[in-house]
C-alpha cells in the first residue's frame, strides 16, 4: 500500500475542491469535462480525443472490473487527469485502475462530489482546471496550481500534433483506406480491418498528394482532440475534397466542414457519453451513439451542397454531413463506440459501400 494522498482541484473560476489523491502524485492541468458513460473508463482515458483534458466521470464507481491492455484505444493514457467519486477496487486477480493511472503517470482525485461538479460545469461551461495530487498532511500547493492553471490553453493549442503518428502504419489486405490520424482510436482500425480493407494509418501532416499516391478507395479523417480550427489537417482535407471519397469522424467531421468553408463553435460543456441520441434526417431512424466533442459545426455556415445528414435529438446540433453530389460524408459521433454502443457501426459499411461503388471510379 502506498502512502495516502490528497487531491485538490482548482477551477478557472476560482472553485477549489478537495478530495483524496490517487494515480500519480504531481500537478496537471487541462480543460475539465465530464462524461456520463457508465462503463468504459479505460477506453475513455486512452482515447486521444481526451488529450489536454481532465476527465470527470459522473458514474460514481469507476474501476470495478480493473484494467487490461486490450481495452486501450491508444498506447497511453491520454487524459491529463481524472476525477472520480469512488475509485473502486477491482475484483481479485484484476489489474487495478489505481495502479494503471500511477504507471501512466496520471494524477487523479477521488472522493469528490462529481455530481455537484458536473452540475457546475453544466451551468458554467467546461473550463480550465488544475489538479494536484500530494501527500496527506501537506498543504495544498495552491501557488503551483495557479501557475499550472495559467499555463492551460486548451482552445488555442494544436493538440493533434501531440497525438498523431510520426510514421505511417499499414495493416490488413485489400483495397486501401487511408486514415489521417488526428488521434485515431484503435477500434476504428479494427472495424475497418474486419470489413476487408487495407488500412493505411497516416500522420495527420501527410500531404494530400502523398495520401493519393497510395491510391486509397477512401480517406477517413479521424477523431482527435482540441479545437478543430487548430488541427493541422484542414488544408489537406481541402486538397482532398472531391478528389477521393472523403469521410470524417468527430474532429474529422469538423475538419471537413472547415475545409468546405463552414464554421465551428464551442459548446458550453460538450457531448461526452455513451447515450447520445442521433436521428438520420432522411430516414428518421434514430440511434444511440457515443460522443466526445466540445466543438460543433455551425449549420448556418454550411455551403449549399453540404447537407446536414444527422442531428442530435436533444439539442438539434449537427451530427453528420453529406455532400449533395460528391462522396463526402462525416459524422460527429463515434460509430466505433469504445466505450459505448455500436448501433451506428453500420455507417462504416455504408461509407465503404459508397467508396467501392463503380460510379465513383471517375472521382478516383
Amino acid at each position: 500500500m502506498s502512502d495516502p494522498l490528497q487531491g485538490t482541484l482548482l477551477l478557472e473560476d476560482g472553485t477549489i475542491i478537495h478530495g483524496t489523491g490517487t494515480g500519480a502524485p504531481g500537478i496537471t492541468s487541462g480543460e475539465l469535462v465530464f462524461t456520463t458513460a457508465m462503463t468504459g473508463y479505460q477506453e475513455a482515458l486512452t482515447d486521444p480525443s481526451y488529450r489536454g483534458q481532465i476527465l470527470l466521470f459522473t458514474y460514481p464507481l469507476i474501476g470495478n472490473y480493473g484494467t487490461t491492455p486490450v481495452r486501450d484505444q491508444s498506447g497511453t493514457i491520454q487524459a491529463r487527469g481524472a476525477v472520480f467519486s469512488t475509485l473502486s477496487p477491482a475484483g481479485p486477480g484484476q489489474a487495478s485502475l489505481t495502479g494503471y493511472l500511477a504507471e501512466g503517470g496520471v494524477p487523479a482525485a477521488a472522493g469528490i462530489d462529481t455530481r455537484a461538479l458536473a452540475r457546475h460545469i453544466r451551468t458554467q461551461g467546461a473550463m480550465p482546471a488544475a489538479l494536484a495530487v500530494y501527500p496527506t498532511g501537506a498543504q495544498p500547493p495552491l501557488a503551483h496550481l495557479q501557475a499550472e492553471l495559467a499555463s492551460c490553453a486548451y482552445d488555442a493549442a494544436d493538440l493533434v500534433s501531440e497525438v498523431t503518428l510520426t510514421q505511417p502504419e499499414f495493416a490488413g489486405e485489400g483495397p486501401t483506406v487511408a486514415v489521417l490520424d488526428c488521434g485515431n482510436k484503435r477500434d476504428v482500425v479494427e472495424m475497418l480491418l474486419a470489413r476487408g480493407v487495407r488500412v493505411a494509418l497516416l500522420p495527420a501532416t501527410t500531404r494530400a498528394e502523398d495520401v493519393l499516391r497510395l491510391d486509397p478507395i477512401a480517406v477517413i479523417i479521424s477523431n482527435g482532440p482540441g479545437n478543430p480550427a487548430n488541427a493541422p489537417v484542414i488544408d489537406t482535407a481541402r486538397a482532398l475534397y472531391g478528389r477521393v471519397p472523403l469521410f470524417g469522424i468527430c474532429l474529422g467531421h469538423q475538419v471537413i466542414a472547415l475545409a468546405a468553408g463552414a464554421r465551428t463553435y464551442k459548446l458550453t460543456f460538450g457531448h461526452r457519453g455513451a447515450n447520445h441520441p442521433v436521428i438520420d434526417c432522411a430516414s428518421r431512424q434514430a440511434f444511440i451513439t457515443t460522443q466526445n466533442h466540445g466543438y460543433a459545426v455551425d449549420a448556418a455556415s454550411l455551403p449549399d451542397d453540404l447537407l446536414v445528414s444527422y442531428r442530435h435529438l436533444n439539442d438539434d446540433t449537427v451530427e453528420g454531413l453529406s455532400h449533395r453530389t460528391l462522396p463526402i460524408r462525416s459524422v460527429q459521433f463515434h460509430p466505433e463506440g469504445a466505450p459505448g454502443p455500436r448501433d451506428a457501426g453500420i455507417i462504416l459499411d455504408q461509407w465503404l459501400d459508397l467508396a467501392r461503388s463503380p460510379e465513383l471510379t471517375g472521382v478516383r
Binding site: T39, T58, P60, G91, P92, A118, S283, A286, P341, D343
Partner: protein, 1004 residues
C-alpha cells in the same frame, strides 16, 4: 439502424410461420399517418399474487393516463379493487370484473374498443389476450392488439418458437427442447445432459420451473411444470447454475428504433428467480465490451421478436469466458421494468403505451429533460433491490430457486453499492438471521445476512465467493458493509434522480439521500404549506397494495386542498413511488434516521407528518417523530398508542360502556394457563403490537395451551400476551370510517367467514346482509362513540362481532386499513380523500359526502399463496395468509358471489360438476346435494376429477390434502359453516343466468 433492422426482419419472417409484416418493410406504417385508435381496452393483472404484485397497478395506471392524455377513450378491466387503476378517474370506463374470456368478451361486445393493450397487466393480461385472439373474439369485433402484437407475444412466450427465432438470428440460446410429456423430457435430458433446467411456458413467476439433477427429479419437476403451464409445454434446457445473470430493459417502437433503459446485474447467480434475486442497477462487474455485447444482443432479440413496446431480456454470462446465453424475454411490462423505471426515472409504461398508440420514440416527449423518449438514461448512483420474503409469517422452508417466493421488494439508492445495499437492508427493517446454521452454498431467503454474519466472524471472502458462486467483487462490497455504521444525522445531502447524470436540467421531484463525505445537497426545501406522507414499504402479507392505494389518495387529496405532498417510501413497484404522484418523492428507508433527515431538509413550511396511511410501518415511526417534536397530523399519537395498548383500550371501552370480549393480559408465561381459565375456552391468544395476526392462535383446551407454551415458552416475553374470549359462530363486521373528531362517515362490511378467521383472509360483503337496520344503527353509533373516545381525526378501522344478538368490539385501529379500497369502491365514498380533508381540519358536515351505494352487492374474495408454498397449512385461522383480493360486483348476492371467485382466478363455475361436501351436516348438505352432483372424500380414494367446488369443514390430513388440491387447481373451497351459509345464499337459478350473461357486467 435501418439496415440491421431489415436484415433481421427478413430472417425471422422466413423462418417463423406466424411472422407479421414488420415495420421496416411496411411503407404504410409511417409515423405521419399513424392512426390513433379512438378507444382502447386495457387489461389489468387481477389480485396480487406472488410474482404479480403492485408493479402492474403502476404500469396499468400509467398506461391509462397515457391513453387519456392522448385523447383516446380508455376502458380498464381488473378484478382487483385494491388498485389505483380501478379508481373511477383513471380510465373513462372501469370494469371491476373477472379476468376471464367470457367476461372480456362481454366488455368488448359492449364497448367495441379499436384495440387492446395486452402488455401492462402482467402474464395474466398477456395470456388472456392470447386466449381472446385464439378464440376468435378479437377478429369477431375487429379489435387489434396494440403495440407488441399477437405474433410477437407468441415468439417471446412460446418456448419452442422463441428458441427457433433466436437460432435464426444467431443469438446463443441454451440447448433446449420443448416437451409435452414426461417421457419426452427424459429423452431430451439424456441428449443434453444433467443437470437440466425445466421451464414451463406461459407460466407466472416461474411456476413449475426448477433444476433437475436426476431422472427422478426431472420426472417430478415435469409433472408439476406441465400442470402449471398455460400451454401444456415444458422446456428442458442445459442448466447454467452459477453464471452471472444480467437483465436489459429494452423499448422499441414501430419504426424499429430501440433503446435500453437500464441493465441490472443480479448478485445472486443464475439459478435464482430474478424476482427472488438481490439486484444491482446498473451492472457493476461487466466491462464496457461485455455491457455492450449484451446490450446489442438484447436489441437484436427484441427486433427479431418485433416487440413494439417494452421488453425485458435476461442473459446468463460466463464471467470467465465472456460467453453468454439468452435465457428468456418478457415481451411486456414486468416487475423488472417497474424496477428499471424507478431506478432510472424513465417512465417505461407511459412510453410503451404511446408506442402502442402508434407513436415513435423520437416523437414522444421526455417530460423530465424536455428532450425525447429516444434517450438512454445515464445513472450517477447505484440502485439495490432486495426481495421481501414471507418466511417470517409463513411456516415454510426459506429455500429459493427458480420459482419466485417473495411477496414484494425494496429498492434503495446510494452513491456506492455499499450505501445502496445498506439502505435496502434498512428499508426491510433489517435482515435478522434466525437462530441456527445457515448454508451459504445454496440460495435461501437468509443468505445475505448469513454471508454478512460469516464475514463479520472473519470468514475468507474468497471462500464465500467460491461457495456461493457470487462474484467476488460483490463479496468484497459485502465485507465493506459489515463495518458497522453509525446513523448519520447531519447535514443531509439529497440528490436528484434525473435520468441523465446531471447533463440536463431535469424536472423530476425525485430524490435520494447520500451520506458520502462532502456530498452537497441539491434538494432545496419545497415551498409550503406541505405535508409528509409516510408510505408502507414493501408488499408483504398483511401490508399490501391497499396501503399504497390510501397513500396515493392522500397525496391527491392534499394537492386538491392546496397542500404540497411529500412521499417517503421504498417500494419500487408502486404507484406511490411514481415521481408524478406527489409533489416530491424521497426514495428512502422508512426508519427514523432517514425520515428525520428528510424532515430537517423540509422543515420550513411543513405542516406535519401523516402516518395513518402507511400501515404499521409508518405507525411504528410515530414515537421517534414525536420525540423529535415533529407535528403528527390526524389522530394524536397518544391516542394511536392508546388503541395499540389493550389495557387503555379496555379502560376506554368500559368508560364508554361498549361491550368487548372478556380478556386478560399476562407478562409472564407461567400466568398464561390461569388467565385462559378465567377467560374460558375457546380463547384467542395474541401478542400486542402485531400486524395481521402474527403469532395469533385459538386455543380450545388446556392441551392447546400446553402445546403453545412448549412452542413459544422458551422465548422471553417482551410485550404482554393477550388472551381474549373467542366468540364462536359470531358475525364479524368490519368498519372503515372517517372521523373529524366529532362526526363519522362509516362503511360497514360483513365478513362471510367465521369470526376468528383473520379479516384479511375472509370473504366480505357490502352492504351487510345478516343484520337489520337497528343493529346497523348501533354499529354506526358505536363507531362514532369510539372515534370521539379515541380522538380520531382521519381514518379508522373497527372490527365488531355480533354474538347472540349482542354487539362486541374486537379491535380499534386509528389508521387506514387493508379494506379501505374495497370499502371506498363498494360504497362510493372516497374514504382516504375525506380522511385527508378531516386531517387538514375540515368538518365532515361541510363536505359533500356521497350517500353510500345500496344499489348493488359487492363481495371481496381472497387469494392464497398455497400453490407457491405447498407446505403451508391451508386451514384458515387468525394469522393472515392471503396475498391479494378480488371484488365481485352484482345486482344480486349470487352474481357478486360467483364473480368474486372468478375474479380471484378460480376456475369457471361449479354447476354440472362434482361438489365435495366433506363433513357437512344437514340441512345444508341436503340443499347442496340437491343442486350439485355431490360426493364425499371418504367415498373416493382419488380426488374427483371433475371437481367444481369443495366444502371442507374437517381439519385432518385428508382435508388438508383436498384443500391443497383445490388451491393448486383453482377450485373454490369453503371451509367454514358461515362460508356455507354464504354459498347457500349464492344458489339459485337466476344467478346462474346472471353470471353467465354478458349483461351482468357492471361498469363501476
Amino acid at each position: 439502424m435501418s439496415g440491421s433492422g431489415r436484415r433481421l426482419s427478413v430472417d425471422s419472417s422466413q423462418l417463423i410461420a406466424h411472422s407479421s409484416q414488420l415495420s421496416a418493410q411496411d411503407p404504410e406504417r409511417t409515423t405521419q399517418n399513424a392512426r390513433l385508435p379512438r378507444s382502447v381496452l386495457i387489461i389489468g393483472s387481477g389480485p396480487i399474487v406472488i410474482g404479480q404484485a403492485a408493479e402492474f397497478d403502476y404500469s396499468g395506471t400509467q398506461a391509462c393516463l397515457a391513453c387519456r392524455a392522448a385523447g383516446v377513450r380508455t376502458i380498464l378491466v381488473n378484478s382487483n379493487p385494491a388498485t389505483i387503476q380501478t379508481d373511477p378517474h383513471i380510465a373513462d370506463t372501469v370494469y371491476i370484473e373477472p379476468l376471464t374470456v367470457p367476461s372480456l368478451r362481454g366488455i368488448i361486445a359492449r364497448e367495441r374498443p379499436d384495440g387492446i393493450i395486452a402488455t401492462v397487466g402482467g402474464q395474466t393480461a398477456l395470456n388472456l389476450s392470447v386466449a381472446l385472439a385464439e378464440a376468435g373474439i378479437l377478429d369477431e369485433f375487429g379489435v387489434e392488439i396494440l403495440g407488441t402484437g399477437f405474433d410477437a407475444i407468441q415468439r417471446g412466450e412460446d418456448r419452442d418458437l422463441f428458441a427457433r427465432t433466436l437460432r435464426a438470428i444467431g443469438e446463443p440460446i441454451l440447448p433446449s427442447e420443448a416437451i409435452s410429456s414426461v417421457e419426452d423430457a427424459l429423452a431430451v435430458a439424456d441428449r443434453i445432459g444433467y443437470p437440466v433446467m425445466c421451464r414451463s411456458a406461459f407460466a407466472l413467476g416461474g411456476a413449475g420451473s426448477g433444476i433437475a439433477h436426476t431422472s427422478e427429479e426431472l420426472r417430478a419437476q415435469v409433472e408439476v411444470g406441465l400442470r402449471a403451464s398455460g400451454s401444456g409445454q415444458v422446456l428442458i434446457e442445459r442448466s447454467v447454475y452459477g453464471w452471472t445473470e444480467v437483465e436489459y430493459e429494452v423499448i422499441r417502437d414501430g419504426d424499429g428504433n430501440a433503446i435500453v433503459v437500464c441493465n441490472m446485474e443480479n448478485i445472486d447467480p443464475m439459478g435464482v428467480h430474478t424476482g427472488d434475486s438481490i439486484v444491482i442497477a446498473p451492472s457493476q462487474t461487466l466491462s464496457d465490451v461485455e455491457y455492450h455485447m449484451l446490450r446489442a444482443a438484447a436489441i437484436h432479440v427484441v427486433a427479431a421478436l418485433d416487440v413494439r413496446g417494452a421488453c425485458n431480456v435476461q442473459f446468463a454470462l460466463d464471467r470467465h469466458t465472456g460467453h453468454y446465453h439468452v435465457i428468456e424475454v418478457n415481451p411486456r411490462l414486468s416487475r423488472s421494468s417497474a424496477l428499471a423505471s424507478k431506478a432510472t426515472g424513465y417512465p417505461i409504461a407511459k412510453v410503451a403505451t404511446q408506442i402502442a398508440l402508434g407513436r415513435s420514440l423520437p416523437e414522444i416527449r421526455n417530460e423530465i429533460t424536455g428532450t425525447t423518449a429516444f434517450f438512454e438514461p445515464a445513472l450517477d448512483y447505484v440502485v439495490a433491490k432486495i426481495p421481501r420474503w414471507p418466511f417470517d409469517k409463513l411456516p415454510a422452508a426459506p429455500q429459493i430457486s427458480t420459482r419466485m417466493r417473495s411477496t414484494g421488494e425494496v429498492m434503495a439508492i446510494g452513491r456506492t453499492v455499499e450505501e445502496a445495499l445498506d439502505k435496502a437492508i434498512r428499508s426491510l427493517g433489517g435482515m435478522d438471521l434466525p437462530p441456527g446454521r445457515h448454508d451459504i452454498a445454496t440460495p435461501h431467503a437468509y443468505r445475505l445476512p448469513a454471508i454478512l454474519q460469516a464475514l463479520r466472524e472473519g470468514a475468507d471472502p474468497g471462500e464465500i465467493a467460491a461457495a456461493s458462486a457470487i462474484h467476488p467483487w460483490f463479496i468484497d462490497r459485502l465485507q465493506a458493509i459489515t463495518h458497522s455504521r453509525e446513523p448519520v444525522s447531519s447535514p443531509p445531502a439529497f440528490k436528484l434522480v434525473d435520468t441523465c447524470a446531471a447533463e440536463f436540467e431535469a424536472r423530476t421531484p425525485y430524490f435520494y439521500r447520500t451520506t458520502a463525505p462532502g456530498a452537497r445537497n441539491e434538494a432545496a426545501s419545497l415551498p409550503g404549506p406541505k405535508a409528509i406522507i409516510l408510505g408502507s414499504g414493501p408488499i408483504r402479507i398483511g401490508q399490501g397494495i391497499e396501503f399504497d392505494y390510501a397513500t396515493v389518495h392522500a397525496c391527491h387529496a392534499l394537492s386538491a386542498a392546496g397542500v404540497a405532498s411529500i412521499i417517503i417510501n421504498n417500494n419500487p413497484e408502486t404507484v406511490s413511488t411514481d415521481y408524478s404522484t406527489s409533489d416530491r418523492l424521497y426514495f428512502e428507508p422508512l426508519d427514523a434516521e432517514a425520515v428525520l433527515a428528510i424532515i430537517e431538509n423540509e422543515r420550513e413550511g411543513l405542516i406535519g407528518v401523516i402516518p395513518q396511511f402507511g400501515g404499521q410501518t409508518a405507525i411504528n415511526l410515530v414515537s421517534a417523530l414525536q420525540k423529535a417534536g415533529i407535528p403528527i397530523l390526524g389522530t394524536p399519537p397518544e391516542w394511536i398508542d392508546a388503541a395499540e395498548n389493550r389495557r387503555r383500550t379496555s379502560a376506554i371501552l368500559t368508560t364508554e360502556r361498549i361491550p368487548a370480549p372478556i380478556w386478560r393480559s399476562v407478562d409472564r408465561w407461567e400466568d398464561l394457563p390461569g388467565a385462559v381459565a378465567e377467560v374460558g375456552f375457546p380463547a384467542l391468544l395474541r401478542p400486542s403490537y402485531v400486524l395481521s395476526g402474527d403469532g395469533m392462535i385459538i386455543v380450545h383446551s388446556p392441551a392447546d395451551v400446553s402445546r403453545y407454551l412448549a412452542e413459544h415458552g422458551h422465548k422471553p416475553l417482551e410485550r404482554p400476551l393477550l388472551i381474549d374470549q373467542f366468540l364462536e359462530d359470531a358475525i364479524e363486521l368490519n368498519v372503515d370510517a372517517v372521523s373529524d373528531g366529532r362526526e363519522v362517515v362509516a362503511v360497514v362490511m360483513e365478513q362471510l367467514d367465521e369470526c376468528g378467521i383473520h379479516s384479511g383472509d375472509s370473504m366480505e360483503v357490502y352492504p351487510v346482509q345478516s343484520i337489520g337496520p337497528e343493529l346497523l344503527a348501533r354499529v354506526e353509533d358505536t363507531t362514532r362513540a369510539l372515534a370521539r373516545a379515541f380522538h380520531v381525526v382521519g381514518l379508522m378501522n373497527i372490527q365488531f362481532a355480533v354474538h347472540r344478538g349482542a354487539l362486541y368490539v374486537l379491535e380499534v385501529n386509528p389508521r387506514a386499513s387493508r379494506s379501505v379500497p374495497f370499502a371506498s369502491k363498494a360504497s362510493g365514498i372516497p374514504l382516504a380523500d375525506l380522511g385527508i380533508r378531516a386531517i387538514l381540519g375540515e368538518r365532515l358536515r361541510d363536505l359533500t359526502v356521497p350517500a353510500p351505494r345500496q344499489d348493488r352487492i359487492c363481495i371481496k374474495n381472497v387469494v392464497f399463496p398455497f400453490r407457491v408454498f405447498p407446505d403451508l397449512d391451508p386451514i384458515l385461522g387468525p394469522q393472515m395468509q392471503s396475498t391479494g383480493e378480488s371484488m365481485g360486483i352484482g345486482e344480486t348476492f349470487p352474481q357478486a358471489y360467483w364473480k368474486s371467485w372468478l375474479g380471484a382466478g378460480m376456475r369457471a363455475l361449479p354447476f354440472g360438476r362434482a361438489v365435495l361436501l366433506d363433513g357437512l351436516p344437514q340441512p345444508e348438505r341436503g340443499i347442496l346435494a340437491a343442486q350439485f352432483s355431490a360426493t364425499d372424500s371418504d367415498v373416493v380414494d382419488e380426488i374427483v376429477p371433475d371437481l367444481g367446488l369443495a366444502v371442507v369443514l374437517g381439519r385432518d390430513a385428508q382435508h388438508r390434502k383436498i384443500l391443497r388440491h383445490c388451491a393448486a387447481t383453482g377450485i373454490p373451497a369453503i371451509t367454514t359453516r358461515r362460508g356455507v351459509r354464504a354459498l347457500l345464499r349464492a344458489m339459485g337459478a337466476e344467478m346462474i343466468a346472471g353470471v353467465r350473461s354478458d349483461d351482468a357486467l357492471l361498469p363501476v
